[in-house]
C-alpha cells in the first residue's frame, strides 16, 4: 500500500476494531504486527463483553456502547466469532458482599443497565448446577462473550476485504517524527510514510510511546485462565464472584483471584480470573491454577470431575488508574493511543475504534473522551517495569 492515511500497530482485537472503523470511514489503512493476528493478549483472553463489572463511570458508558457495537459488527461482517449474548450472573456469599452487590447493581440500574435480582430459587432456575452455598445473585442480560482470536481474525478479514492491508511479521523499531508530528515509522524490514499512527499494542504500548519520545504508563498484569475438556452445557451464563469487580479495580501487586466460570460454544469451560503484577513472568504457576480450580469448584461442585486440559497465560495491559488510554499522544501530534484496556479489551474494542476514528476524522464522538485521554498522565506517574 502506497501512502496509507493511517497505520495501526497491532493486530489484536483493539487494533483490528480500530482499523475496521477507520476503513469504514473511508481511510486507507495499513495494519502492522510483529506476529500473526491476535498473537498477544487477545489470544489469551476469555472474550468478555461485560457491562456488569463496571461502576457507573465513563468506562461503563464506553462498555455499553461497545456491547451494542459488537452486535452491529457481528451483523456487518457476517459473524464467525461465536458471539453469544449469554448474560452474566454475579454472585456473592457474604453479607457484606451481597450488600455491596445490591448497591452496585442498583446504581447500574439507574444508569440504564438491565439488572435482575435473583433469590436462591430464581438462580437455580437459570443455573441448576450452582453450589447450594449461593443464595443471592444478580443477572445482567447485557453481558456477552465471543471467541477473541476468531473475532480479531474475522475483523481483520473484513479490513482486508474493504481495502485495508495487513502486514505481519514486521517489528516496528522506530517512529519517525518531524517538528513534533508523526511522519511515518520504520520496521525491521521497511520504512513507511504516514501522518497518522495508532498505537494498539496493548501491553507493549509504552514501548511505542517511548520510541516516539513520549511516554505511556502501561504495565502488564498477568492473568491465567484454565480450560476444561469439552463438556455438556452445565454452565449457562458467565458466572462470577462479586469479588471480581473489586479485583478489577485493585492496584495490589499480589495475586488476586476470584471465580469466573463460563461455558463456551465449543464445549470447553473457561475458568478465571487471576491477576498478578509480576512483569512479563513466563511459565505456569501451579499455585495460581490450584486456587482457580478451588474457587471454580466452590461455585460449581460438578466441575470437580471435569478434566483440566490447558491454561492460557496473558498479560493484561493496565494504566495506573485502570482506565483505557484512547486519544492523541500528549506530546506527539499524529500519534494516537488505543491501549491499556486491562481485562476488558475485548469488550471495549469496537467503541474504542469508534472513538479514535471520530477523533481522527473530526466527527462527533458518542461520548466525552476526555477521561481516556493520554494527556491525563503526568511524567511522574510513569512507572517503569
Amino acid at each position: 500500500m502506497k501512502n496509507p492515511d493511517a497505520i495501526v500497530i497491532g493486530a489484536g482485537v483493539v487494533g483490528a476494531c480500530t482499523a475496521l472503523s477507520l476503513v469504514n470511514a473511508g481511510l486507507k489503512v495499513l495494519v502492522i504486527d510483529r506476529g500473526p493476528v491476535a498473537s498477544g493478549t487477545t489470544g489469551a483472553g476469555e472474550g468478555n463483553i461485560l457491562v456488569s463489572d463496571k461502576e457507573p463511570s465513563a468506562e461503563l458508558t464506553l462498555a455499553v456502547r461497545s456491547r451494542d457495537a459488537w452486535f452491529e459488527l457481528n451483523t456487518d461482517i457476517g459473524g464467525g466469532f461465536e458471539l453469544e449474548p449469554k448474560g452474566g450472573v454475579v454472585v456473592s456469599r457474604s453479607e457484606k458482599g451481597i450488600a455491596n452487590l445490591k448497591k452496585l447493581s442498583q446504581l447500574q440500574k439507574s444508569n440504564g443497565i438491565e439488572v435482575v435480582e435473583l433469590d436462591a430459587a430464581g438462580l437455580r432456575k437459570i443455573e441448576p448446577l450452582i453450589s447450594e452455598s449461593v443464595e443471592y445473585a444478580v443477572l445482567y442480560p447485557g453481558d456477552a462473550q465471543c471467541q477473541p482470536m476468531l473475532a480479531a481474525a474475522q475483523i481483520m478479514r473484513a479490513v482486508r476485504k474493504r481495502g485495508g492491508q495487513f502486514i505481519q511479521g514486521e517489528n516496528v523499531i522506530s517512529i519517525n517524527i518531524s517538528s513534533g508530528r508523526v511522519i511515518g515509522l520504520k520496521t525491521d524490514k521497511n520504512n513507511y510514510s504516514c501522518p497518522i499512527i495508532i498505537n494498539a499494542t496493548g501491553t507493549w504500548a509504552g514501548e511505542i510511546a517511548n520510541m516516539a519520545g513520549s511516554y505511556l504508563p502501561i504495565m502488564p498484569r498477568r492473568g491465567f485462565i484454565l480450560v476444561t475438556s469439552p463438556v455438556p452445557k452445565i454452565v449457562h451464563h458467565k458466572v462470577y464472584d462479586a469479588d471480581y469487580v473489586a479485583n478489577v479495580a485493585s492496584s495490589d501487586a499480589d495475586l488476586q483471584s476470584s471465580a469466573v466460570v463460563e461455558g463456551t460454544e465449543s464445549g470447553t469451560i473457561l475458568i478465571g480470573a487471576s491477576r498478578e503484577r509480576v512483569g512479563f513472568k513466563s511459565g505456569l504457576d501451579v499455585a495460581v491454577l490450584r486456587q482457580l480450580a478451588r474457587q471454580a469448584i466452590s461455585l460449581f461442585p460438578i466441575l470437580s470431575n471435569m478434566l483440566f486440559l490447558r491454561a492460557y497465560r496473558g498479560f493484561r495491559p493496565y494504566a495506573p488508574d485502570h482506565l483505557p488510554v484512547i486519544g492523541e499522544d500528549a506530546n506527539v501530534l499524529g500519534l494516537w493511543h488505543a491501549a491499556g484496556h486491562e481485562g476488558a479489551g475485548i469488550g471495549l474494542s469496537p467503541a474504542t475504534g469508534e472513538l479514535i476514528t471520530a477523533l481522527i476524522t473530526g466527527n462527533k464522538t458518542f461520548m466525552d473522551p476526555t477521561p481516556f485521554s493520554p494527556k491525563r498522565f503526568k511524567e511522574s506517574a510513569h512507572v517503569r517495569i
Binding site: S229, P230, V231, P232, G267, N305, L307
Partner: protein
Amino acid sequence: MSGSDLQFTFDDQIITAKSGQSVGAALLAADVRKLRTTRFDQNPRGVFCGIGVCFDCLVVIDGIASQRACIVEVKPGMKVQTQVGSNA
C-alpha cells in the same frame, strides 16, 4: 492374578472379561467397536491408538464421562456406557 473371568455391563449388555484387561480390550473381545459418538457430527468412534494417547475411545464409567477405555482396567460390576458427545 490376570486372566480370571469377571463380568461388567456396557449399556444394557452383560460382558464377560478377563481380569487385567482394559475396558476397551474387553469390549473389542466382545465385538463391541463403537464406544462413543462425537459431539459435533455424531460419528461413532472406537479404540484407535490403544495406549492412552489419542482419547478417542472415551466412555462413561460408573457415571464419570470421558474415561479412556483403553487404559482403565475393567472391574467386576463396572457400569460402562456409550459416551454421547461430551457426556452420556
